[in-house]
Symmetry: C2
Subunit: 380 residues, 2 copies
């Protein structure tokens, strides 16, 4: 094992671990400003500013915390007039006899070019940068599930509000006011914040707005029309995401919308049933596609806009809301420990938008559906 580690390439990252998931994964410590990270012969080393030195010595899960300003002084003594990040880190690498580093694809290009000028060979590696990040531990699944429960709590509050609402004319009313996407997003985001989960880009899209799958929704909620509720917060405690989508109708759905909902629900359940180690994600995606096509739901461009099912079936989730693997037309064999969404949708302006999303972990022999929220279209 030790020998293997000695043959591993030296790794480097330079980012703010508050925002960069590979770096957070490596150090388990959140910093809002960029700092250099190295992994040399299996040893994790970070160079921290005076501002972060004390905190990182206590909290960072690394082998060594070094003072950035100490290394800046060393680099200056070695002949750099005003040593910047590239000077300091190149000097540090050379002092450790490292000539080649492997960095993530999203490594800062400016810094990479500056290191290359200083004689360091910089090779980028596509995600997953850390292979093991794809396979979630029990503890990681627990943290993801916790984020999901808080999200489900928030959606229950939204559903309660819609249940107590009244239909007046074409719109939904509550407390004498029109219910809007903005109000419902606030209900979700505030509820999640009470559980220290940060909702961002939360989608509550009514009627045809939901037919643009990333439209977050604005304006009044229509009665008797589809309402897409897609919520994917990050826990500010654990940094792990959750992701769930439900589609509701306040009032009565049209027969066409009901049939469309049923098609998505049945196809999703067929897709979910397939999720197991050794199964190709492409097969899951194609089964869902075919299932919906067999019911007459086709994907095509109409008047320049896509209709039907025109996104992937799912994506990996963890410290990023979208991370490897993808469950779509690309070739990927599912493995134990992968956490993926299964979220088919059908979008036909005029009829409405339907998307249903559950979160699954691939287990030894099959999968566990982490989502417990019921799937029911109409709210009376």
């Amino acid at each position: 094992m030790e020998v293997m580690k000695r043959n591993e390439p030296a790794l480097m990252m330079y980012a703010a671990s508050e925002y960069d998931s590979n770096l957070y994964y490596a150090v388990k410590f959140s910093v809002p400003d960029p700092f250099p990270f190295f992994q040399i012969k299996g040893k994790k080393i970070i160079l921290m500013s005076d501002l972060e030195l004390g905190r990182s010595q206590k909290q960072a899960k690394v082998d060594e915390v070094l003072s950035y300003s100490d290394w800046q002084v060393k680099a200056r003594k070695a002949g750099n007039d005003k040593p910047g990040v590239a000077d300091v880190t190149a000097y540090f690498l050379k002092s450790n006899k490292i000539k080649t580093i492997q960095v993530p694809d999203n490594f800062n290009l400016g810094l990479a070019d500056a290191l290359r000028k200083r004689g360091i060979k910089v090779e980028s590696k596509t995600d997953p940068f850390f292979e093991e990040r794809v396979y979630k531990s029990k503890e990681e699944v627990r943290m993801i599930t916790q984020s999901l429960r808080y999200t489900e709590t928030a959606i229950h509050k939204l559903e309660d509000l819609l249940r107590k609402s009244k239909i007046k004319g074409k719109f939904v009313h509550y407390g004498g006011q029109k219910v809007t996407s903005e109000l419902l997003k606030k209900v979700l985001n505030v509820s999640m914040m009470e559980d220290n989960c940060i909702g961002s880009h939360t989608i509550v899209a009514s009627g045809n707005l939901g037919c643009d799958p990333h439209n977050t929704g604005t304006g009044p909620v229509w009665a008797n029309q589809s309402l897409i509720v897609d919520v994917f917060p990050r826990s500010a405690d654990t940094f792990y995401y959750a992701d769930i989508t439900r589609t509701f109708v306040k009032g009565k759905a049209s027969p066409a919308l009901k049939a469309q909902y049923e098609a998505v629900k049945v196809a999703q359940e067929r897709g979910i049933d397939m999720v197991a180690p050794g199964v190709n994600g492409r097969a899951v995606h194609q089964t869902i596609q075919w299932d919906m096509e067999n019911r007459g739901y086709f994907t095509e461009k109409r008047n320049g806009t896509m209709v039907g099912f025109f996104h992937g079936t799912g994506h990996g989730l963890g410290l990023d809301v979208h991370e490897p693997p993808r469950v779509n037309s690309s070739d990927h064999v599912l493995k134990k420990g992968e956490v993926v969404t299964v979220e088919p949708g059908l979008y036909y302006p005029g009829v409405g938008a339907v998307r249903i999303e559950d979160l699954l972990v691939v287990t030894d022999k099959g999968h566990q559906n982490l989502t417990v929220y019921p799937k029911k279209l109409e709210i009376s």
Copy 2:
């Protein structure tokens, strides 16, 4: 003007505008997944996935929205078997007779190297990528001020809770329970979320914990000791940040802590008074340093930990919480429209931590302090 634009280098970005501020600044449109952006002869062009095509045509502030999958088909016909992002964007650039692109420093290294292999010259540009981003318009100042008002509303709620709290022994109690940093952060973050502002990494640090300036705080709040409250949310409506720090003591501060607070407050006010166009930020920083040193507050390492004033005086703020310019020992002449913080601090474990931060915009002849929250140490 037109001629100038034609001589400008072609720009490219590839990022998720939800997280990348330069890209958001360019397109004023938030997308959670990466997409290619080009600026060619002054014209802004984006290549969008089918998923985002409809929404971006309606919402993105660009000259042209093109279909990524259409260009993928073109790149395939031109001889790429399975065209990836580098194939498609290189083909797009060549079709537009572009051989050299300028990209931000934080451009994805993997993509840059792949474009270079395909014959595109990729040059990175250090921030500010768009010079004009540094100089805030009236509308931008209005949005920043709005985020700040919501933040101040949240801090008022925290102060109210502390006012209603009781001191029992060494700790602060409310509703029969110990008041904790976690509770107070929740009060802040939930209040801000009600105004659609996302608090992240919010700091409420009691006693010696505050002496690590980025320690976000945990555990019970001590009576009669310093409490650092540093809050910097991003509006989910406008995407503009605010940033403010206040230091409180529930109960009575020690004479040493009172004197330390006074030193920071007076130095901060002296620094703020200096802020005007043509003034070097370094002079502001040094004046604050000297002012505090003259009162006997020295900056040094004690037992391996920094004490005193060991961070910069301030930073630019806008679509990023930290952006150019810095107000510190580096050379930067302030200019009209820059929005900067002035936030000196003094940290002495055993006595306590003090930091006071206001947000300023540099005006024609001086500055306007955007912050209205009072500066008062003790809460009885």
